[in-house]
Structure formats: structure tokens, C-alpha cells
Symmetry: C2
Subunit: 263 residues, 2 copies
């Protein structure tokens, strides 16, 4: 009886996402054949985890893999697509906002595998609980990608390019932009006797609340109460210390009031 | 041996905060003597929890209580201060952004008791774990307020009016404004095949990360990467669907880049 060989995967890119995805592919029974990155250190570091080879040259990428996973910055996907031909292989990109057709010249079997989570090299996150959005350019590639994605995650959702873009924008507002608001809070408290960490219970309560409520229904604060006196006090201080923060405060407050008015 | 009588407290205001504070005072050994609110239903509902009396008239507020806790909207504090005289009693307001001196005409012993949490009537939150910021107008009132606050919470922090205002602004950015960003995310996904709840793991991971990191050090997303292509794609869609969201997206993105540049 022939032993079934492990499917081979090559990672193109060795950033935060590749550092989370490669172990997930490995655990799902894939052989990590090669790591490509323009940055030698990153390629080497990730390859060493799987005792596999790496390259910093696009033309040295192995041709015999079953799957290629593109994990480079969104800006770089197009450049790579112009220079890489991998006919016969399944080629996936992992970007939230890049249309599927951006990689259509690379292979006839292409798709998207977009894990909806924020990854850092330092912190391991199991992909099993992360929603993974998938897309394919044909029914054949769709079913191959679905099968593959279900080995990685318990929550696989087929989407269109349009809905994936909407989701990516929503994630930028909900996560990247929220994190910047935490950064602003920390900045405001600098030089005061109060530490940022004091805000953590309040931040946790705010997110806990939206697990069971629509955020629109649990909005609190001076803007939704139209508490002009408080808003004025806040703006007076912000204008003195950092006028750009006053501008942002005014804009978000007026957006809260516009939303409440149903506009 | 005389039985020591329970200290008496009157609540002025019967909103979300009073509904959380009154039970905390009750559990800490206070007698809830009376509830005042302009809104009869609220006053009655809160009073009924302690089988106590209520009034909707400022002039009918009992004069013999030891402590008065003002829990009205920030806008209403000044109006009440102008009409109420409670000499000899400890009078506290509970607002994050109102200066202590706003209530100086009411009594010679005044202070602030500001619980740093967001309260709703529906959801009970134990005050024990909530940071409570306190302020007093004299060493006598400060020590009385500290003693009182420590019965309510394990985390009592004396602050100045200035630092309390900074903290309140920081809380508005970190919590009220973040919640509005969740509302925007929900809005963007309306009409797509993707549900807002799909974003929850990502939102939770974002807040978990700042428990152990400065938010400035864990910023992710297209703005911090200066990923112009993604930003352009996002703005194109937002301009078509809701131009005001495009304005907000641009402003927060440029603020993220300004912060990263250390300006």
C-alpha cells in the first residue's frame, strides 16, 4: 500500500501572519517546503522552526509544492503577482482588502484565505478559534480551499471579494482604530497622577457589553447625552494640550449624535 | 450600651449610577433615607428597593442625613447647587468632569466620589472592583470621603480636579468613542453576508493585548504600515457608502501616523 505523501506548502512572506499560519499548516499535516522573504533574517527564523529551507529570491521558489500561501504586505502582492508563475498549484493570498483577481496571472487555481485576527510574532494564537474567510476563482478551487481551511479553523466562512473588503474596513474601525483611541487615552494621562491601567476595567466592561448587545444600543458618554457642559470642558483642555485631539473629539462626538438621530 | 445608629444617606438623582451606588452604600452599612429625582418613576423604583421614601421636589429633601450623593447629569449639578443648602452634611458629587467647587455653596464639607466604570440599570456591577477616585475640599472632608469610599471599593484613589478631568477625557476616548467605532463596524457590515459578531474575537484580542502592553506599541493595521493601496481601497468604498465615515477614517489614520512619528 503506498504511503500517502504529505501535501507541500511554500510560504511567500515571513511576517506576523506567516509566523502564525505556518505552524497551523504544519499541525494540519502539511509539509512546510520552503519560506520566501525579501528579509533574510525573517525567512531564516521561520524556516528554522520547521527545519526547512528558505530563499530571498523569487526565482528560487520551489515549483513542486501543492499550495502557495502569499503573506506579504498588501502593497507587495501586485509586484509578486507580476513576477511569479505557478501553474497547476493552488495559490492563496491572505489579505483582507485585496481583490482575488490581483493574483489571477499566477495560476488558474487561486483563492483567498483571510484569518480574521490580529497576529504578532511574540504571541501564539491558535487558528482553530479564528474565523477564516475564504474565496476561490472556480468551484474546483473553492472546494479545495474550503477543505484546506477546515483543517486549520473550526470557523470557515465563504465570502465574496466585496463582503471581505467591507469586513476588513469594519475590522480596521473596530480594532486598529480602537487601539489608537487607547493610545490617545494613555497620552492624555501622561504627566498626571493617574495610570492608564486604571482604565482597563472600564475598557473590558465596554467590550463585554457588546458580546450580547448591539453597540448602537449601549452607547454612553457626554455626546449621546448631549451634555454640552462636559463636552465644552473636555474641548477646553484638549485645545490647550493637543488641538488635533480636540478636532478628533469633536468629529467622533458629532458622529455619535448623527447615529443616534438615525441619519 | 447605646446602639450605634447607621449613617444616613440621601441620593439626589436616580439614574444608572444611583442604581449601582445605592445598593453599594446599603451593603456598606448605610441607611438609604430618601431618593430624590425629577422623574417620579425613577425615584419610586429606586426607593422601593430599600423600602424607603422618595421625592420629586428639591425642597422636600430630608435635612438630617449624614451624606448626600449627587448623581444627576453634569448639566444639572449647577442648577441643584444653586437651590440646595445642606450645612453640616457631607455632600458628594459623582461626576468625572465637574470641578469640586461647583458644589461649594451647598455645604462646607464637600467632595467627589467618581467611580470609573460605565453603569446601566439592567446590569449589576459590584463596586468592590471598580476604581473610585475621590477628592475633598479640606483635610477633614478628604479623610471622611476616603473612609467612606474604602467601604465601597477596594481601589480608592485620591486625585486633583485637574487629573480627574484628564481621566474622564481619557475614558471618553477609550470607552465611549471605542463603542462608537464598534457601532460603525456594525453599520458597515449591514447588508453584507457577514455578521458583526464575527469581529468579536478580534475585538477581544485587541483589548487583551493592552492588559500587558502599551497600546502605542501594539498598533496594527494599514495606517501604521502606511499601506497606501489598502487605505485607498477602503476610502473608495467609504466615500461611496458614507462620506462622513471616510472623513473619520482619514483623520484617525493620519493621527496614527502622527503618533508613530512621535509628533
Amino acid at each position: 500500500m503506498p504511503i500517502k505523501r504529505k501535501p507541500k506548502v511554500v510560504f511567500i512572506g515571513a511576517g506576523n501572519l506567516a509566523f502564525s499560519l505556518a505552524p497551523a499548516f504544519h499541525n494540519a499535516g502539511f509539509e512546510i517546503s520552503q519560506i520566501y522573504s525579501r528579509t533574510r533574517n525573517s525567512a531564516q527564523e521561520l524556516a528554522s522552526k520547521f527545519l526547512t529551507s528558505y530563499t530571498t529570491k523569487l526565482e528560487s521558489i520551489f515549483r513542486e509544492a501543492d499550495v502557495y500561501v502569499i503573506c506579504v504586505k498588501d502593497d507587495a502582492i501586485k509586484k509578486i503577482s507580476a513576477r511569479l508563475k505557478l501553474p497547476g498549484s493552488l495559490v492563496l493570498h491572505t489579505s483582507g482588502s485585496t481583490p482575488l483577481k490581483s493574483i489571477e496571472k499566477i495560476s488558474e487555481t487561486i483563492g483567498v484565505l483571510y484569518p480574521l485576527q490580529t497576529f504578532t510574532k511574540a504571541k501564539k494564537i491558535s487558528l482553530k478559534k479564528v474565523p477564516v474567510l475564504v474565496e476561490g476563482n472556480s468551484s474546483k478551487s473553492r472546494s479545495a480551499i474550503l477543505k484546506l481551511a477546515r483543517k486549520l479553523s473550526d470557523s470557515v466562512i465563504p465570502v465574496t471579494s466585496d463582503d471581505r473588503l467591507k469586513l476588513h474596513i469594519a475590522a480596521v474601525f473596530a480594532c486598529n482604530f480602537s487601539n489608537h483611541l487607547y493610545t490617545i487615552a494613555e497620552k492624555i494621562l501622561k504627566g498626571s497622577s493617574v495610570k492608564f491601567s486604571l482604565l482597563l476595567p472600564l475598557i473590558m466592561e465596554t467590550t463585554k457589553r457588546i458580546e450580547t448587545n448591539s453597540p448602537a444600543n449601549v452607547q454612553t458618554g457626554p455626546a449621546i447625552r448631549d451634555d454640552k457642559k462636559t463636552i465644552r470642558r473636555h474641548l477646553t483642555l484638549l485645545k490647550k494640550t493637543d488641538p488635533k485631539l480636540a478636532t478628533l473629539y469633536k468629529l467622533i462626538s458629532s458622529e455619535i449624535q448623527r447615529t443616534a438621530a438615525g441619519k
